[in-house]
């Protein structure tokens, strides 16, 4: 069968992908030729604005050119089809070459709609659709910036207009949005939702002009000014028109195919045009009187056509799904079903929070039984679940307002994926339903999001369904009896919190005893450090007592680095250090030829120490008054501070003294994961205390205590636990907080994810730590007090004990050093030889 596809956009590509991914696809059965007008293979237009960030067109490609060849598809880029002959079933390219077809797929997409306005042909006025458009915008913007100009206007406040506005803003231009309607995204949002969106966008420094009708553009050659019908005007240096799309139906029309009254090639539910061998899909198709500018309906159309070609029976749903969730200019916006309810047939429930700029609306059927549609602005976390309830006609919770407010009695019933039917479409981009996802989990044994996504393609489009796929995965695994609880490993069938309690109650004091009484087998690298951490938290024993169960770094009291050498980090509490101590660090580094670097935690890291040199290095440091910095342990690292009121003219508090005090209080404290703290002397927050597991910020009237923040891969700001505290109360709360974390968190779970998983969240944590509702406050404090008073520097222990020092020989049978360690020069210092 000879197939010709006219157009290589997102939908044209999707057709090819669906065609060849059928298990019965054979190259010899199909002769597929694809014509693309652009010089690039199909790319992701939805994420076009990302091009401004990296200008890497290839990263947007949906498939590279080889993919087409490998699948037997002849992709002809830069070739425009200018004529279709429906009687002889041929197409003619702009090179006047004629190609015959058995089936023709028209996927020519759309043009940006350019309204007829005086002066619209002036220089500096662009449309926003292709990478070429973007390239032109980029070079023009550079030109005007060089002249000291930077004012850009985007005409159109719809979905595409806002995307274009993001692009313009990323170019570093002063950005204005001009919208004809009184509301942004008038097709998806009601007036109040649009208003919240407007105010969020204005927070970004973008000026939004609504109810503005452009009369003309003025300027000599370049556009300089816009005049509006209300008599107002606006100076501009560049204009981007993104006021809608217009189906590219002219070739189809000239061929005699029937068009819809407002454009677009008319198709039936099989996507057949007025000629049975010609199909139209995507933005060019007019189905049920409309054209569709979203990818999801376009993809569905592609699938319907592929089904026809394989002789299967599949047709379009009666009303294509126009539901959408997007991040526009960083703002979550979602709309589904009958979102605006123009005819006032439903009962709306509206939540509006002008303070946080969140708007949520759900429309309930008049009889109160079904969800008909809704709008989410500023927070679209509930979108997936609402969409499923809407699409599957699922029953509503007893109080339908719970849909957007969350259940306030803690059962959270409607947010449960297990309630969804198998037919529920989870990924609308790829049309993957829940049944299919469950099937690959239960039958194929897939147990990671990545594997499921690879197999089913769910989540490979916009990615919005990822959280839902993950929830389904967890729920299915649970049903299969897997991961019922997060047990440590095969040797201990308990969670860390359970193990902590058991070890404490049974009075177990060493690892072998734990294995013999409550575990099985011979242990592993997962359970050994967990037990080591629990023993440390219960008895403040250092890593020297049971060295074999310590994580390898704790066993040697140092961090192993890339070439098997170690780093040395002495404690510098609060980041305060005397010149004498600085000199000692310098001298040690010089003597052992170590690479030195200031760490993020306000201390100094010495790299490249060989195992055999560690005791001697530490001996020198300890004589000078240093202690272990526990940089190798899941333990308190540093308490960072700003310089505070002793020197700073803004300081409200002596933050360094407080940081030193707190760091010394908790030094050596082992925990489920590393712990970092910070103290800032005023609200300017120079110590970045809110990026730490615990942070103290001095304000007028006392200390504010924040908890559960972190930097790293998933940065989280710490959340206010209590405010206006005196120092004593602050430390009391910190004791309770840290001890509660140590007792209840899972292994390698930092405070932020621990809090995230905590039922009741920060309010519950406040009730435990501040209000002492569990009545354990005093116990937590006294446990912490014991740990504080039993602290000993484990490096001091190590250098004073010959049998511990023996651990640091590279060979048990020789005094030789490891001859395999190779360093190469790095600026004035050195680094390990790079890995091959």
């Amino acid at each position: 069968m000879k197939i010709i596809v006219v157009g290589n956009g997102m939908v044209g590509y999707k057709f090819c992908e669906k065609l060849v991914s059928k298990t019965t696809y054979k190259k010899e059965n199909f002769e597929v030729t694809v014509f693309g007008e652009e010089i690039r293979p199909a790319y992701d237009r939805v994420h076009l604005s990302e091009y401004f960030l990296n200008q890497d067109a290839r990263s947007l490609e949906l498939a590279d050119q080889n993919w087409y060849a490998e699948n037997g598809i002849d992709l002809r880029l830069g070739e425009l089809i200018k004529k279709i002959d429906i009687h002889n079933k041929t197409v003619e390219s702009h090179k006047s070459e004629i190609y015959t077809f058995d089936k023709l797929i028209i996927a020519t997409g759309s043009y940006p709609f350019v309204p007829v306005i005086d002066g619209v042909d002036k220089k500096g006025i662009f449309v926003y659709r292709t990478i070429e458009d973007l390239d032109q915008m980029i070079s023009f913007s550079e030109k005007i910036k060089a002249k000291g100009k930077n004012k850009a206007v985007v005409i159109g406040g719809g979905l595409l207009g806002l995307e274009a506005a993001k692009a313009v803003k990323d170019l570093g231009l002063e950005t204005h949005i001009v919208e004809f309607a009184p509301v942004l995204m008038a097709r998806q949002l009601d007036a109040r939702g649009g208003d919240i969106l407007k105010s969020k966008i204005e927070d970004l420094g973008i000026v939004v002009h609504t109810s503005k009708n452009t009369k003309c553009f003025a300027g000599e050659q370049d556009v300089e000014k816009m005049h509006f019908t209300d008599g107002s005007e606006l100076d501009v240096d560049m204009v981007v028109i993104s006021a809608g799309i217009k189906a590219r139906d002219e070739v189809a029309s000239a061929a005699g195919l029937e068009l819809g009254p407002r454009g677009g090639v008319l198709v039936d539910e099989k996507m057949q045009t007025s000629h049975p061998d010609i199909y139209a899909i995507g933005e060019v198709a007019n189905f049920l009187g409309f054209t569709y500018g979203l990818v999801a309906p376009g993809y569905e159309m592609a699938e319907v056509v592929v089904a026809q070609l394989y002789g299967e029976n599949k047709s379009m749903l009666e009303s294509p799904d126009m539901s959408t969730k997007l991040k526009l200019l960083g703002v979550d916006v979602a709309s589904f079903g009958d979102a605006i309810d123009i005819h006032h047939e439903h009962t709306p429930i509206i939540f509006e929070n002008r303070h946080e700029k969140i708007y949520k609306r759900v429309n309930i059927s008049a009889d109160g039984t079904k969800l008909m549609g809704g709008i989410l602005v500023g927070d679209a976390a509930e979108y997936n679940m609402l969409l499923q309830i809407y699409k599957n006609g699922m029953p509503l919770p007893k109080n339908p307002e719970d849909l957007i407010l969350g259940s306030r009695n803690g059962d959270g019933g409607h947010n449960d994926v297990s309630a969804l039917p198998d037919t529920a479409v989870i990924c609308s981009c790829e049309n993957v339903n829940k049944g299919k996802i469950c099937c690959v989990i239960t039958d194929d044994g897939l147990d990671t999001y990545k594997a499921i996504s690879k197999q089913t393609k769910a989540g490979t489009g916009c990615g919005g369904c990822k959280p839902m796929v993950q929830n389904i995965l967890e729920s299915e695994l649970k049903k299969m009896g897997r991961v019922v609880k997060n047990t440590i490993c095969e040797h201990f069938q308990y969670t860390r919190a359970e193990l902590y309690d058991i070890v404490k109650i049974k009075g177990i004091t060493d690892y072998d005893e734990a294995l013999n009484t409550i575990g099985m087998g011979h242990g592993c690298e997962s359970c050994k450090p967990v037990l080591a951490s629990i023993f440390a938290s219960l008895f403040m024993e250092t890593a020297n007592k049971q060295p074999a169960i310590q994580d390898s770094n704790d066993r040697f009291l140092a961090n192993i680095q890339r070439n098997g050498t170690y780093s040395v980090v002495p404690r510098i509490p609060g980041g305060e250090i005397t010149p004498e101590k600085l000199i000692v660090i310098g001298e040690v580094a010089k003597e052992y030829n170590l690479y030195t670097k200031i760490t993020g935690g306000q201390r100094i890291d010495l790299f490249g120490a060989q195992l055999n040199d560690l005791p001697a290095i530490w001996e020198k440091l300890i004589i000078a008054g240093f202690e272990s910095g526990h940089a190798y342990g899941k333990a308190l690292r540093t308490v960072k501070s700003c310089v505070g009121s002793t020197w700073c003219r803004f300081g409200m508090n002596d933050s360094v003294s407080l940081a030193v005090k707190i760091e010394n209080r908790y030094k050596g404290l082992r925990a489920p994961h590393k712990l970092k703290g910070g103290v800032s002397g005023c609200i300017r927050e120079c110590a970045e205390a809110r990026g730490k597991d615990f942070g103290i910020i001095a304000v007028e009237g006392g200390l504010n205590l924040y908890v559960c923040g972190n930097g790293g891969a998933d940065p989280k700001h710490a959340i206010l636990l209590a405010s206006g505290l005196d120092e004593e109360t602050c430390i009391k709360y910190l004791d309770r907080f840290l001890m509660f974390y140590i007792q209840t968190a899972g292994p390698l779970i930092r405070t932020a994810p621990w809090l995230e998983k905590m039922e009741g969240g920060i309010e519950y944590l406040k009730s435990v730590v501040v209000d002492d509702t569990l009545g354990i406050g005093a116990e937590l404090e006294s446990q912490m007090e014991k740990l504080v008073s039993d602290y000993a520097c484990e490096w001091k222990e190590a250098i004073e004990n010959d049998s511990i020092r023996k651990r640091y020989k590279h060979f048990v049978n020789s005094e030789d050093r490891d001859e395999n360690i190779v360093f190469v020069p790095l600026r004035e210092m050195k680094m390990p030889e790079p890995w091959k």
Binding site: H522, E525, G564, V812, W835
Partner: protein, 125 residues
């Protein structure tokens, strides 16, 4: 670097031509590893005190080719004695050297014998 890896090849008990006495039981940590030097080879020796068993393997982790395995934590996976590399926690069986967590080349293993508190590792070179 590749040639460093080539220096290590598993030795079966019946192939041993020399039992090298590398120290006494007391020289080795219990339930952990230590490194032994034999000619130019670095051999990791592990004493599983709980089982009363000894294992030896190359000290070189094949992943990033670093001499570190003797410093790894030991234990078992479904009964198979193993070591976890301290660099990236890749697990290797100490029974046959196979990597249990990734598609990495197997490590070389060597037989260990203990007589009168003296520890011997078997070599054929």
């Amino acid at each position: 670097m590749q040639n460093v890896l080539d220096n290590y090849e598993s030795v079966m008990e019946e192939q041993v031509t020399y039992w090298y006495p590398c120290g006494y039981v007391d020289d080795f940590p219990e339930n952990a590893g230590a490194c032994v030097k034999y000619k130019h080879a670095q051999i990791a020796v592990f004493y599983f005190a709980r089982m009363g068993k000894w294992y030896a393997c190359q000290n070189l982790c094949p992943h990033k080719v670093e001499m570190v395995l003797s410093r790894g934590m030991i234990g078992d996976a479904t009964g198979i004695a193993k070591v976890a590399c301290p660099m990236h926690k890749h697990n290797f069986s100490l029974e046959d050297g196979a990597c249990l967590t990734a598609e990495l080349p197997a490590i070389a293993t060597y037989p260990v014998r203990v007589e009168n508190q003296q520890v011997f590792v078997g070599f054929n070179f």
